[in-house]
């Protein structure tokens, strides 16, 4: 073999080192560019707890407030609405809210009505379907109606892919949505005043 074909190991070593150094710079620059797409400090700061006056929410009425840019529903359920919940226990996918959720279900909401025991008629839930993030619409009327089963006891229907939820935000079985609606941490400041995004354990 001719002499020119021989590799100069000193130069080859230098070449490898230069390429490696250049590669590190390239990869870190790409890392910086990718990181700029994360939520900004301002977006993170906008996620503070929200205080809500619920004195204007009459039984059977739903109030929507905004928390972290998402709709949070406050539904004061009538006694009939509360009575409908046990009937759904065998029809819903996760009656005890034990699966894993985007927001961990607070201990005080891991029950049939998914609310605090002391004000169990008031449902506080994030109105975002666990399937693909649409906001379900209220379908409180009982009985047969379009897109709903004939033995409907009232609840919510997601317009996007047809998932149905009962009046505690629990998803019915065999629907596109895998889990129930999220219950955010919340607590009562007084009987008619709640704060969303915060409870005894601190802020969410």
């Amino acid at each position: 073999m001719s002499k020119e074909k021989q590799v100069d190991s000193g130069r080859r070593g230098l070449l490898v080192a230069t390429c490696a150094a250049g590669g590190v710079v390239g990869v870190s620059t790409a890392g910086v560019l990718v990181s700029t797409l994360q939520p900004s400090e301002r977006a993170k700061a906008a996620g503070a707890p929200v205080e809500v006056d619920i004195s204007d929410v009459k039984p059977g009425e739903l109030k929507v407030v905004e928390w972290r840019g998402k709709p949070v529903w406050i539904l004061r359920r009538t006694p009939e609405m509360m009575a409908s919940l046990p009937k759904n226990d065998s029809l819903v996918a996760d009656p005890g809210s034990n699966k894993s959720y985007q927001i961990d279900t607070p201990e005080y909401a891991k029950n049939e009505f998914r609310a605090r025991e002391d004000h169990k008629e008031v449902l506080v839930t994030v109105g975002i379907c666990s399937h693909l993030g649409c906001s379900p619409s209220s379908r409180f009327a009982e009985g047969a109606q379009p897109n709903l089963p004939d033995d409907w006891h009232g609840g919510f229907l997601c317009p996007c892919h047809g998932s149905t939820f009962d009046l505690a935000g629990r998803v019915f079985k065999n629907k596109p949505a895998p889990v129930n609606l999220d219950v955010p941490p919340y607590m009562y400041l007084s009987d008619n005043k709640i704060v969303i995004g915060k409870d005894e354990k601190g802020e969410a």
Binding site: N147, N174, P176
Partner: protein, 471 residues
């Protein structure tokens, strides 16, 4: 290496244009590029109407880029201003409505033309060896178009824009472990917001178009390298004339220039009719809910993607937890079928079996839920198109020389695709979901069983010369 630079000698009395061209050609291969890529590019002489859609796609691309540039001069990518700036373009910018309608109609026209272009490839086997890369580049162009359409659709910041983006970004949330963080990273906020709009604008107007142009160049260079196929699916380069070109070919210029120009006038006739008389196309090209500004607290009562996404979207919606049992049974049957009927090596078969077992375990309801698999099937329904050159084992390329019943197979496939497309625009009901599930199975079977059915039946004799009647 190379030869020394030599100025081409032009006669002193030659026209100025002639001299100028010679001057340029000495410094840049202008004439060579033109002749290689179009002027003296010899294409089969038997092209029919199906062969118009490639150049029409090019026309629509130019139309979209030009109208898009003028729209960005008035549009504001800001969550508080975006909706208003689109209204402003429609109502106050002189002729702004026309430019915007050309752009919005152009988006739908692009997909119509590209779907027809892909259908041509499918029925005449244009993707077969040695044109696999042309097909792959084309497929990548199709993906870019989908991305363009998706990113662009958020920009008017209407209700449909907003909730459509919300749904698609949340698709990534279905990926185990990293999903939620991934969708957060894509949105740049906890919900679709100003940050999302701003970045989608950047992708729509610069990032994706740059990639798209590169891919179009690659698609055309690859095409002009191996040469066009034709409706008979025979290789015209195998029968050369004394001039070194196929005896069944003609130069693109002027023959296909004039033919394409006729196609262009017909296309523009229809296109203008839509732009002027039905730019909304009954809610299919521009959805009515998008005339309401985005509201993050209220989902419209019926949200559906624009028509060109609905076939794939139907696959997503069809994947319920009950349907997963059907998918699992189908997958198991497919693996058994591969063992019994395929000539793949044992190693490959074992690999496929291991992969299938892993998938089957993942499909159990206790492991990964139907939502995740819906996203997987949705993605697969698009990606599977890329594998066509390797799935089609038919001894002939064109449908003209395939057994008669193959036409019915294609027919069933096209019907299933169209039905999925229609169902995707409708609200889901129990019956519609069942039909969508049946069509999903048909759609995937068409591709997955193609290695077998494409070789079956009595094939007709392929002629040595193209079928052509001079007019």
């Amino acid at each position: 290496m190379g030869t020394a630079f030599k100025e081409t000698k032009v006669a002193a009395d030659a026209p100025a244009t002639h001299k100028a061209l010679a001057w340029v050609d000495d410094r840049f291969p202008l004439s060579k590029l033109w002749n290689d890529q179009w002027g003296k590019y010899h294409a089969p002489k038997n092209f029919n109407i199906w062969y118009l859609f490639g150049s029409l796609a090019m026309l629509v691309l130019v139309l979209q880029i030009v109208t898009g540039i003028f729209l960005t001069m008035h549009y504001k990518p800001d969550a508080n201003l975006a909706f208003g700036s689109v209204e402003y373009i429609m109502k106050e910018v002189p002729w702004g409505w026309l430019v915007r309608y050309m752009h919005s109609t152009g988006a739908s026209a692009f997909f119509i033309v590209v779907y027809l272009h892909m259908t041509r490839g499918l029925i005449y086997g244009s993707y077969r060896k040695p044109r696999e890369l042309i097909w792959l580049f084309g497929f990548a162009i199709f993906l870019c178009l989908m991305a363009e359409a998706f990113f662009g659709y958020l920009l008017p910041w209407g209700q449909m824009s907003y909730w459509g983006a919300q749904v698609i970004v949340n698709l990534f949330g279905a990926i185990p472990f990293v999903g939620n963080d991934l969708s957060l990273w894509i949105r740049g906020d906890y919900v679709v917001s100003d940050a999302t709009l701003n970045r989608f604008f950047a992708f729509h107007v610069i990032a994706i178009p740059l990639v798209l142009l590169g891919l179009v160049a690659a698609h055309l260079i690859a095409l002009h390298e191996v040469g066009s196929s034709n409706p008979d699916g025979i290789e015209v380069k195998e029968n050369l004339g004394p001039d070194g070109h196929g005896v069944d070919t003609i130069p693109s210029h002027p023959y296909y220039t004039t033919k394409d120009l006729f196609g262009v006038t017909m296309f523009l006739l229809i296109f203008s009719a839509v732009v002027f008389f039905a730019p909304e196309m009954g809610g299919y090209f521009l959805e009515y809910n998008n005339f309401l500004p985005a509201d993050s607290l209220k989902t419209p009562s019926h949200i559906a993607p624009t028509w060109y996404f609905t076939p794939f979207y139907s696959v997503l919606r069809a994947t319920t937890s009950d349907f997963m049992w059907v998918v699992m049974a189908g997958l198991a049957a497919y693996v058994v079928f591969i063992w019994l009927r395929s000539r793949l090596s044992h190693k490959v078969k074992i690999g496929i079996t291991v992969l299938a077992v892993v998938l089957e375990i993942g499909m159990l309801p206790q492991v990964l839920d139907a939502k995740f698999w819906g996203v997987v099937l949705f993605g697969s329904s698009v990606m599977i198109l890329a594998t066509l050159p390797w799935l089609d084992h038919s001894p002939v390329r064109s449908i003209r020389y395939r057994p008669g019943w193959h036409k019915y197979v294609y027919g069933v496939f096209f019907v299933a695709f169209l039905v999925l497309g229609y169902l995707g625009t409708q609200l889901p009901t129990a019956a519609y979901t069942l039909i969508a599930q049946a069509c999903t199975l048909l759609y995937f079977s068409f591709f997955l069983l193609m290695p077998w059915w494409s070789t079956m039946g009595r094939f007709k004799a392929v002629p040595t010369r193209v079928t052509f009647t001079p007019h």
